[in-house]
Amino acid sequence: MSNAAPVVLDQVVVRFAGDSGDGIQISGDQFTRTSALAGNDLATFPDYPAEIRAPAGSREGVSGFQIQLASHPVFTPGDIADALVAFNPAALVTNLDGLREGGIIIVNSDKFAKIDLEKARLVSNPLEDGTCDKFRLVQAPIGKLTKEAVEAFGLKTKEIDRCKNFFALGMVYWLYGRPLDPTEEWLRKRFKPPFLDANLASMRAGHAFAETAELFEGPFMVPPAVIAHGTYRNVTGNLAIALGLAAAAVKSKTTVFYGSYPITPATDILHTLAPFKNFGVATFQAEDEIAAVCASIGASYGGAIGVTGTSGPGLALKQEAIGLALMAELPLVIINVQRAGPSTGLPTKTEQADLLQAMYGRNGESPVAVLAPATAADAFDVTLQAVRLSVKYRTPVVVLSDGYVANSSEPWLLPDIDALPPIEVVHPTDPETFKPYLRDPETLARPWAIPGVPGLEHRIGGLEKADITGNISYDAHNHEKMCHLRAEKILRMRADIPATDVHGAASGTLVLAWGSTYGAIRTAVDQCLAEGQAVAHVHLRHLNPLPADLADIMGRYAHVIVPELNMGQLSKILRAEYLVDAIPFTKIQGQPFRVAEVKARLDALVAN
C-alpha cells in the first residue's frame, strides 16, 4: 500500500499532543512550515496547559498543537482532527473528543505502562479497553525506535528522549507526503553535532518506519492552494501586534512607548517588543497596570506614541487613567488581549467579553475608539490603524485582541513597506496661533503641543477644559459642548473607515461579527453559500465608531445574527444603536467557535 499513489485530500487537520517537554510546539511549527512551503493554505492553534509545569504525564500537563492545511483558503485550525499524534496516555484521552470517527491515532506505545496510565488517572489501558475502537490506531514504539536510530551518537537518555518528536514528525511527513528537506535545513541551522545528527536520524527513521511498516492506508496528499503571490511568514496575533507597533514607530518617525505589566495572554507582546529598541520602540515594564498606562500617557504628553497592553483585569485597572488621556486629548493606544472572565476567570482561555468594558468602563461620558483584529495576521493592520487614528484624532483607541488571536498563527502575506502610508505626527510650534484646545476643523483634534517648545507653555489635566483655551472651566454649557465634541471626534473617524465588505448573498441572513470568530464564521458562511443558502457575512474591524454604511447594509437583510464569544455584547450595541433585532448567538466556554456550531445555527435559522 505504501507505494500506492497518494490519496488526494482537500484539507487535513492534524493534532499533536503530549507533555510540554515532548517538543509538541516544535513538531507543529515544522509541520506548518513544511506545509506552507508546499503551498497549502493553513491555520494553526497551539494549546498550552494552564499550569507552568504540570506533572509529566498528567492530564493537566497536556500541550497541544493543531493545524489545518488545505488546497483552498482556510480560516481556522479545524473543528475536528483527522489525525492525532499522542505522546502519552493523557494526551490520548484528553484529545479523542476532538478526533473524527475513523481518524488516525499515532501513539507512542512505549508510554502505556501501568505507571503512565496512573499519571493520567486511568484505570485501564485505552489502547486495549476499546477506547480507540472507533479510530484507526497506529501503535509505534517511538521511544524504542528513536533510541535505536540515534544509538550511534552517544547521547544521554534524556537527550535521546528529546529526539522522539522528530521520529513522530518523520512519520507524519510520510503520511502526508511531505518532503523532509525544510526541517532538515532548519535542524542544520539550529543544532550542532551530535544533536543535529541524532535529530536527523530520528526523523528519517520515523519516515522510513511509516513507509515500511505499512501501518497506514496513506500516504495522503493535499495539493497546493491558490493563494496570493508574495512572501509569507507565520505570525501569531501577539507577534503581529508587536510588528505593527514597530511599523508604527518607523512609519511615524516617532518613538512608540510601550508601557505594560505582564499578564496572560498579553505578555508576549512585551517580550517581542523589548528587543526592538533600534526600531524606535521603547518598552517599560511598570509596577502595575495603572503605572503602565500612566507612563504611556506621560510619554504621549512628551511627544512619543504611548501604547499600553494588557488583558481584561488589567484594562479595568487602567480605565481611570484612560479617562485622563481622553480629557487631555492625547494619543494613547490600549491593546487588550481578552481572556475568559469575570475576575481571574480562565486566564489561559479565550473570550470576547471585554467589548462593553472597552466601550463603557470609565466614569462619565468617555467615548473611545475600539477596533478588533479578525485573525492573527490582521492584527498587524489593525494595530497600525489604531495608532494612526489615535495620533490623528488625539484620543485613546482600544484594540480588542483575544487569547485565540494572540496565540493562533496563520500565514501572513508580508506587506510592501513602502506602500504603507506614513503616520503624520505634527507638533505645533507657533506661539502666535497656538491655543491648547483649538480644534482641527476636520478631525476636531486639538494641537499635540509638547513640552520644550518656547512660548507654548500651557497646562492640561483631567478637570473639564474650556473650549479653545483649555483653561479649567466649570461652565455648564461649555461642559455640554465638550462632551459632545469628544463624542463627535470619535464619530468623525468614520471618514477613515473603508466601505464595509459584505461577503455572500445580497439578502437573506446577515451574519455580523467581530474579532477572532472570523475564521469559523467565514468557513460556515462559505459552506452555507456553497449549499445555496442566502447568507452573508460582515466582519467588523471598527466597533466604535461603527461604519457609516452599516445601517444600510443591515437594512437589506431579513435577519441579522451576531455570533460572539460572550453573552451578546455587540448585539446589545447594535440593537441600541439601530433598533435592529440583531439575534445574539453566543458561546461562553473559553473556546473559539467550531465551524460546525456556526453552520448548525445558521442552518437552523434558515430552516425557521
Binding site: 511568514r233 533600534n278 526600531f279 509596577e287 503605572a291 504611556s296 517648545v453 512660548g455 489635566g461 479649567i472
Partner: protein, 337 residues
C-alpha cells in the same frame, strides 16, 4: 527651534491663572520659592514640566508659567516617569501631597524611588487631606480627630523620610513652607542631584490642620527646635546660649547640651552619604522632644533609570543599526509563493 533667553525673573514663572488656594495656605510660600528658584536655575522656561496628581497641592502646575500636567490622584509619579523616559531633555518636577503621594500614590512613589528616574519630587506634607476637606492622611499622627476619625485616628503614620530610605531613594531632603531661603536652597540642591530627588516640604493647611508644624517651625520655636543638617558640619541646633548637639552613643545618636561637658567638636558630623546616619536622623521624633531635622538626609550615587533606558536604546541602535523594518518583518521562517 528657537530657545528663549535663560535670564528670568520670578514673574516669568507666574501664570495668568487665579490662585485658588485658601488665603494663608502654606502652598503660597512654596509656590513663590519655586518660582524664584526656577528663575535662577538658568534653564529655558519651556524645558520645565511640572506633573501633579490631585489635591490642593496638586493644583500647583496651574500657577506656574511652564508646561504642566495636572493628572489623576496618586499617579503623577508614574506619568512623570513616562514623560522623563520619552523626553530626557526636560526638567521634570512632580508636585504631590501626603495623600496623593503616600496614600493612593504610595506604590508609584516607592517604585519611582527605587528606579531612580532623574526627576524632582516635592511632597507637600500637611498631614491632612486638604482638598477633600480634612480627613487624616498617612502622615497624620495617631489619635488625630477628623471627620472620618471622630474618636481619633488609629493609623500609625508613615515617616516619609524613612519610607524613602526604605525604598532605596538616592536623594532625600526636607524643608518647610515658611523657611523661604532654606526652601530655596533645598530645591536648588535637589535639582542638581541626578536621580530622583525626594523633597518633603512641611506645609501648613490653615483650614483643616492649622499649626500642624508650629511647635517646631513657627517663629517662637524654630530656633530651639530645628536642626539644619549640613554635610560635613556637626549636627547641632539651638541658639547660641542654648545649644545642643548629637554625639555618638553605641548604635545611636544622643542629644547633649553643649557648653559644659560637651563641645560642638564632640558632635557627629553630618554625612549625607551615610545611610545609617540618615536612618537615625529620619527616626528622630520631634513630637518626643527631638529636633526637627531639615536639609539633606541622604544622597547616594546610583545610576538613573532614564540614563540606562536611553543607553540601552543607543547601544542596541549602534550594535544593530537603525531598525530595518522590511528585514524585521521578513525575519523568522518565510516562504514565497
Amino acid at each position: 527651534m528657537n530657545t528663549t533667553p535663560v535670564e528670568y525673573s520670578k514673574k516669568d514663572f507666574m501664570s495668568d491663572q487665579t490662585i485658588r488656594w485658601c488665603p494663608g495656605c502654606g502652598d503660597y510660600s512654596i509656590l513663590s520659592q519655586v518660582q524664584t528658584v526656577f528663575a535662577g536655575l538658568g534653564l529655558a522656561k519651556e524645558k520645565y514640566a511640572i506633573v501633579s496628581g490631585i489635591g490642593c497641592s496638586s493644583r500647583f502646575p496651574y500657577y506656574m508659567n511652564t508646561y504642566g500636567f495636572h493628572t489623576i490622584h496618586g499617579r503623577a509619579t508614574a506619568v512623570a516617569t513616562g514623560l522623563k523616559l520619552s523626553r530626557p531633555d526636560l526638567s521634570v518636577w512632580v508636585v504631590t501631597g501626603d495623600g496623593d503621594g503616600l496614600s493612593i500614590g504610595g506604590n508609584h512613589m516607592a517604585h519611582l524611588l527605587r528606579r531612580n528616574v532623574d526627576l524632582n519630587v516635592l511632597l507637600f506634607n500637611n498631614r491632612i487631606y486638604g482638598l477633600t476637606k480634612g480627613q487624616y492622611s498617612p502622615t497624620s499622627e495617631i489619635g488625630k480627630k477628623t471627620k472620618s476619625s471622630p474618636m481619633g485616628s488609629i493609623d500609625h503614620p508613615f515617616n516619609p523620610i524613612a519610607f524613602a530610605l526604605g525604598c532605596g531613594s538616592s536623594y532625600i531632603s526636607r524643608s518647610v513652607d515658611v523657611f523661604a531661603s532654606h526652601l530655596r536652597d533645598t530645591l536648588t540642591a535637589a535639582n542638581t542631584h541626578s536621580g530622583t530627588s525626594f523633597v518633603e516640604i512641611l506645609q501648613n493647611c490653615n483650614i483643616f490642620n492649622d499649626g500642624a508644624w508650629d511647635s517646631m517651625v513657627d517663629k517662637d520655636h524654630r530656633d530651639g527646635r530645628v536642626l539644619y543638617m549640613e554635610h560635613g558640619k556637626p549636627l547641632v541646633w539651638g541658639s547660641e546660649d542654648d545649644k545642643y548637639g548629637f554625639i555618638l552613643d553605641g548604635l545611636s545618636i544622643k542629644p547633649v547640651k553643649l557648653g559644659e561637658t560637651h563641645q560642638e567638636t564632640d558632635c557627629v558630623l553630618h554625612d549625607k552619604h551615610n545611610l545609617i546616619l540618615a536612618t537615625m536622623l529620619a527616626n528622630l521624633d520631634p513630637s518626643d522632644g527631638a529636633p526637627l531635622a531639615v536639609g539633606t538626609f541622604y544622597e547616594s550615587d546610583k545610576s538613573t533609570y532614564d540614563s540606562m533606558f536611553v543607553t540601552q536604546i543607543a547601544d542596541a541602535t549602534s550594535r544593530l543599526g537603525a531598525g530595518d523594518l522590511a528585514k524585521l518583518l521578513n525575519s523568522g521562517e518565510t516562504w514565497t509563493v
